[in-house]
């Protein structure tokens, strides 16, 4: 029998450490009594961490370094700091290593005591969750930097750019290109980029055509070249080049329009060998539907790789959507090969998740055809066969026919610009709650192929019409509030009560969709043309439609819920099951449960704010 007593020194020390300072006297005494003290010498080969029993380590004196299995620095901890808590929170095996940087004493608290303190003191619990979340964020950041698939244009180009004034002639340009040893030069009108000239242009547009060296650069340049931003993904740039058959893309800095450099195919070859690019180039080589169908079998593997590589949900959405776009484009090219060129200009539109670029797996197709007003009734024969070919092809590749028939092959969704304008105007000006429920996906539209100006004209009408239209926005809000996050009054999860997914959490409809809906209402209220949810939220904060803090919270919640949904789908894929959106709460770790509740709470509050802003005085 021993009488356990606390040592004042230890208790006083703990009482001065956040979050132990939050503990009431009895819990503090319990913590102090449970402590085990050990001493570590710099350079010691002894293992600091107890791999069998996770502990909370408090640095009393000295300094320690936490490194990941791969040797990356995770944290550097000095007096008053902690380590070891992630394994205590998640229940996962310890994988980090700890090295002694300076001789020191460690206080250790065992798992049982740590859990007791957590469950009896909310600030204590919160502190370690936040500390862990912060570390996770750090970890994702460092991991993504060298992640092949998520490479951005910035990562592969050499900065620096060679420019020439529009008043110069071809000889000046040739001299400059030779001096600077570049194979392309940008033509500028003061600060503005107006054209590009490449080595090949010098050959085919000057020499081959017998033009003199005094020919002005403006006469041979490619005017208004397509540009990309340093922020864009490398594979997006690759697709642009393939689509337009060009070898150079001027790159602009992200916020300003300042020219940052030129991306060339050579840059891309260096950056290649990443899966989506390979998959997309495979797609572009297929000459018939059966070939595409074959390639589509690789999509689940691509998704699984991306999830396992811990890419961000946003990046995965863009990559998977790019693959869907590539299938669509290739089918359109095949259709044109078969049926001939379209008689009048048109644009192929994608709605919903493909429109927003947040597809997470192969899903139903939601598409439509927008046809130039010059089309005559007899042209419908062509577009009908054309749409039929593409939609049937998509169905064969796994993008099954839309149950709601929202597809270009349905006559109703294969219309001229005039009809489309009328239709949107009637949705917006004479809103009907039920009809809006089925049409909200139309407001997330994007051109996948065809005439950009045709699409722009329609999109502008939609945005102008919706902007500040109180009645329409009130209806849209009412719809957006129909699904709420699954949180009960006492912050408990509210599980699905019926159907095949009883007692699960529906992460898509109750988590991701409410945020998408929120962002759409705000974006349309100011006539914003962006459709991607993250871009919408960022731009809304930029334009001060919502506060930066609210935007950041929603972005974090969106990323977290989407990420959990992807992890769940990744697990299903790994077990060769069909991915779905239904999470079983008992299978979550405490940490995830806790953070998920926080994320849902953010959505809850944002919905309240939305209700207040748009439905007041109407409902």
């Amino acid at each position: 029998m021993t009488i356990s007593v606390e040592v004042q020194e230890i208790k006083d020390y703990l009482a001065a450490c956040v979050p132990f300072d939050q503990l009431p006297e009895n819990l503090l005494a319990k913590a102090a009594k449970s402590i085990q003290i050990s001493y570590y010498r710099k350079g010691s080969q002894a293992s600091v961490l107890n791999y069998q029993k996770p502990q909370l380590y408090i640095v009393r004196t000295g300094a320690f370094e936490v490194r990941s299995e791969e040797g990356d620095l995770v944290d550097r901890v000095a007096e008053g700091g902690y380590f070891g808590y992630p394994s205590l929170l998640t229940g996962d095996a310890i994988s980090n290593r700890v090295a002694v940087i300076e001789d020191g004493l460690l206080y250790q608290i065992d798992e049982e005591t740590f859990s007791y303190l957590r469950s009896h003191n909310r600030p204590f619990e919160r502190f370690f969750h936040q500390a862990h979340a912060k570390r996770l964020k750090q970890a994702v950041l460092t991991r993504n930097q060298d992640h092949q698939l998520a490479r951005r244009v910035r990562d592969v180009i050499t900065p620096g750019v060679v420019t020439i004034d529009k008043s110069a002639n071809v000889a000046d340009a040739a001299r400059m290109m030779t001096e600077q040893r570049v194979s392309s030069i940008l033509v500028m009108d003061q600060e503005e980029l107006i054209g590009i000239i490449t080595d090949r242009d010098m050959r085919s547009r000057v020499l081959a055509q017998g033009k003199g060296s005094d020919t002005p650069v403006t006469a041979i340049m490619t005017p208004n070249p397509i540009t990309v931003s340093v922020q864009d993904f490398v594979f997006e740039a690759t697709m642009l080049m393939t689509e337009h058959n060009i070898h150079y893309l001027p790159v602009v800095a992200d916020s300003t329009d300042r020219i940052f450099g030129v991306l060339s195919t050579t840059d891309l070859v260096k950056a290649q060998k990443s899966d989506p690019v390979y998959l997309i180039s495979e797609i572009s080589r297929q000459e018939d539907i059966s070939g595409l169908k074959e390639v589509s079998r690789d999509i689940p593997m691509l998704l699984r790789n991306l999830i396992e590589a811990d890419a961000k949900a946003d990046e995965i959405g863009r990559i998977i959507t790019s693959v869907s776009d590539a299938f669509t484009k290739q089918l359109i090219l095949q259709a044109q090969e078969k049926l001939g060129k379209a008689p009048v200009p048109f644009a192929w539109l994608a709605f919903g998740s493909q429109g927003r670029q947040d597809q997470t797996a192969i899903s139903d197709q939601d598409n439509a055809l927008l046809i130039d007003d010059s089309a005559k009734p007899e042209h419908d024969q062509y577009f009908s066969e054309f749409a039929d070919y593409v939609c049937t092809g998509l169905d064969a590749c796994g993008y099954v026919f839309c149950p709601g028939e929202i597809m270009a092959k349905t006559p109703r969704w294969r219309q001229s610009l005039r009809v489309w304008k009328d239709r949107f105007q009637s949705w917006i000006n004479e809103p009907d709650s039920k009809a809006l429920m089925h049409t909200s996906i139309f407001f997330d539209m994007r051109r996948v192929y065809g005439e950009q100006s045709l699409f722009d004209r329609l999109h502008k009408v939609v945005c102008d019409c919706a902007k500040g239209n109180d009645i329409f926005l009130a209806y849209l809000t009412q719809n957006a509030l129909k699904t709420t996050p699954p949180l009960g009054f006492f912050k408990t999860f509210v599980l699905e009560r019926d159907g095949d997914h009883i007692n699960t959490l529906d992460l898509k409809h109750r988590g991701v969709v409410p945020i998408i809906d929120l962002a759409r209402v705000y974006a349309l209220s100011v006539g914003m043309e962006r459709v991607n949810t993250i871009e919408r939220l960022q731009a809304l904060a930029e334009d001060r439609v919502i506060t930066r803090k609210d935007a950041r919270n929603l972005l974090d919640a969106y990323e977290f819920i989407s990420h959990q949904r992807l992890l769940h789908q990744g697990n299903k894929l790994a077990r060769s099951e069909k991915p779905d959106n239904y999470l079983i709460p008992d299978e979550m770790s405490d940490l995830v449960r806790h953070q998920l509740k926080d994320a849902f709470e953010v959505v809850n509050q944002a919905q309240s704010a939305l209700r207040l802003k748009f439905t007041r005085g109407f409902m």
Binding site: M1, T2, I3, S4, V5, E6, V7, Q8, E9, I10, Y13, A32, K33, S34, I35, Q36, I37, S38, Y39, Y40, R41, S44, Q45, A46, R60, T61, G62, E102, D103, G104, L105, Q108
Partner: protein
């Protein structure tokens, strides 16, 4: 060998007492590495430094198991004394309220012996504490204590000597020794704080003597002998 005979002899002498129970346990193996041995760091609070007139006021101890000071098994026992605490109260901060929970010296030493079973005793400046303990043990159980004892003060002297210090001017009080290892300054001055401080000092000393090598109890005993 000699120790084993002595242990047997003392066991008979102290039959039916807690000391006899203690002596039934084997002393820690001298050839073991210190990391595989359990220690008991202890400190006494005394009314005077003179063992003939002074009394034990407090017995405090904490075990070191697997290289860790285990606070949950720490103990501090206030002892009822024949006289009033007198002046020492102001020195050691012992208050009457604490004395209400005081136990007899016999009870305190019985608990202490229980905790010492199979462990090495850790003391800073062992001769003083051992003088008091042995007087008490002889009175109670007719025999003195047989134990493996590591004295952190002596260990420090031998470390300093090995590094070229002559030792005569060395600062060897507990807090001064701790400073050399950058161990924290403990303001409180009670027996349990000192026992914990001694345990920490020992871990630091042993870690530095051993490096990544084996350090046997035999070597430690020799260095603190």
């Amino acid at each position: 060998m000699l120790a084993a005979i002595k242990q047997k002899w003392y066991r008979r002498e102290s039959q039916h007492t807690p000391m006899c129970e203690y002596l039934k346990y084997r002393l820690p193996d001298r050839n073991s590495d210190y990391r595989n041995i359990e220690f008991l760091a202890a400190d006494l609070e005394l009314t005077s430094l003179d063992a003939q007139s002074g009394e034990i006021v407090c017995v405090a101890y904490v075990p070191v198991i697997g290289g860790k000071v285990v606070m949950s098994q720490a103990s501090r026992l206030m002892v009822k004394t024949s006289a009033s605490v007198g002046d020492s109260a102001t020195i050691h901060g012992i208050h009457d309220r604490e004395l209400e929970q005081a136990v007899t010296l016999e009870y305190a030493l019985e608990r202490f012996l229980e905790s010492l079973r199979g462990r090495v005793l850790l003391l800073h400046h062992a001769p003083l504490d051992m003088q008091f303990l042995n007087i008490a043990f002889k009175q109670l159980y007719a025999v003195p204590l047989i134990a493996r004892i590591v004295d952190t003060l002596k260990l420090e002297i031998s470390r300093l000597y090995a590094r070229g210090h002559q030792g005569e001017s060395a600062k060897l009080r507990l807090y001064q020794c701790r400073e050399r290892y950058h161990l924290p300054v403990y303001k409180a001055h009670d027996a349990l704080s000192d026992a914990v401080a001694t345990a920490e000092l020992f871990l630091a000393q042993a870690e530095h003597i051993a490096g990544d090598q084996v350090l046997s109890l035999k070597t430690l005993l020799k260095k603190s002998g």
